[in-house]
């Protein structure tokens, strides 16, 4: 165990409990990625932290709870699907607007998409459109990010997942360095943000959504061509 391991071990109990924020959290996560011993240590502490939740007393919910949950699942089903479609439609609309008025043809067949895509890239001297699926650290789906390298370059982020209401920073990892790209406001579990950026988007490897305490909320790897 080297000096860094010793320093990080001090932080692991709080990390396992989900209460570590800011630079400490980022430093610990960064170290764990490349250290099997500390990763195993975190896993065993997390087993204890998660296990504590099972100690809470069980309690019979109010009458009709089961029916209300089932009714809610039935209500949400069509909306859930529509929301996913809307996410892509919104991104597509933004692509069309930013790319200088190119028209999105909703009836276009797949084989036309390649040409359309190429045309957008060519119009704005763009080289790459890429996407990332955003997830929580528990690997729960939480939204999407779209990056575009062109003139101008831009980023569009949609949050639909398990994120509390509030204001979050959108951070990109560019050649190992963190760059703040934008700010997203989440209300009723949803939020979106899009904007032009001077950051080299084709060099963004990862998109992170962090709260104002610096705690990671969502993250995703950007899949470039």
């Amino acid at each position: 165990m080297n000096e860094t391991c010793e320093q990080v071990r001090e932080l692991l109990p709080e990390l396992a409990l989900g209460i570590l924020g800011g630079e400490d959290r980022a430093r610990a996560l960064d170290h764990i990625t490349g250290c099997t011993d500390c990763s195993n240590e975190l896993a065993s502490l997390s087993r204890a932290a998660d296990g504590l939740l099972t100690l809470a007393p069980q309690h019979e919910p109010p009458a009709g709870f089961e029916d209300r949950v089932l009714a809610r699942l039935r209500r949400e089903r069509p909306q859930h699907r529509a929301r996913r479609l809307m996410t892509f439609a919104a991104a597509a609309a933004l692509i069309a607007i930013v790319a200088g008025g190119a028209v999105w043809v909703s009836t276009a067949q797949d084989r036309r998409f390649g040409g359309y895509y190429q045309r957008i890239l060519a119009i704005q001297h763009g080289t790459e459109l890429a996407a990332a699926s955003l997830e929580t650290t528990d690997r729960i789906y939480g939204g999407e990010a779209f990056t575009y390298q062109g003139n101008p370059s831009w980023l569009f982020v949609v949050v639909t997942g398990p994120v509390g209401d509030g204001v979050y920073d959108i951070i990109g990892t560019v050649r190992g360095a963190s760059v703040k790209l934008g700010v997203i406001r989440v209300a009723h579990g949803r939020g979106d943000w899009g904007g032009v950026t001077t950051t080299e988007m084709k060099a963004v490897d990862e998109i992170r959504v962090v709260d104002r305490a610096g705690q990671l909320v969502l993250h995703g790897t950007v899949h470039h061509n």
Binding site: E10, P13, E14, A16, L17, G18, I19, L20, G21, S44, L45, S46, R47, A48, A49, D50, G51, L52, L53, T54, L55, A56, P57, Q58, H59, E60, P61, P62, F65, E66, R68, V69, L70, R72, L73, E76, R77, H80, E135, D138, R139, I140, Y141, G161, P162, G164, D165, A213
Partner: protein
Amino acid sequence: MWSVSDEALLAGLASGESDAAVAFIRRFQRRVYGLAMTILSDSAAAEDVAQETFARAWRHAGAYDPRRGPVATWLLTIARNLAIDSLRLRRADPVDPEILVSMQGVSADVGPEERAVLGDDAHRLHAALRELPADQRRALVLAAFYGKTAREIGESESIPLGTAKTRIRTAMIKLRQSLLVEDDERDM
């Protein structure tokens, strides 16, 4: 239906099978609602959290990874995070953490498979929690159930930040050790 594994029920829930959804809710509703009530002490708020927990489990069932832990802890972690958000939104203070110490531990009405995965850990953790000094136990419960950071615990307990961190760390190491010791004994 009750002999079906948690993972299979979750998969059924995700695929929209109504029988699986009913069985999944029945299997976990007392735990989910119980945890929400423990954190929130408000039946209406706890029901909102419990409903949302099942809705999110349904929406995100495909993202569940069994390598990261049992379905029950995955579900309870969702419930905990939602309850903490609700607590912060309502600016409500946590109830006395000592209430959790008087808990009886895991209930007897869990299936043999769940007991095998969860029950042993729960009994060991409950015993280890009871043996902790009161100040360490309090710090741990405030962190684990109410999402309080070391700084917040330091402020609420009127102790330096370093002391709060030490209490949390010492308590966690003792709890983790209780699991490891039992594992070693079982392996012998």
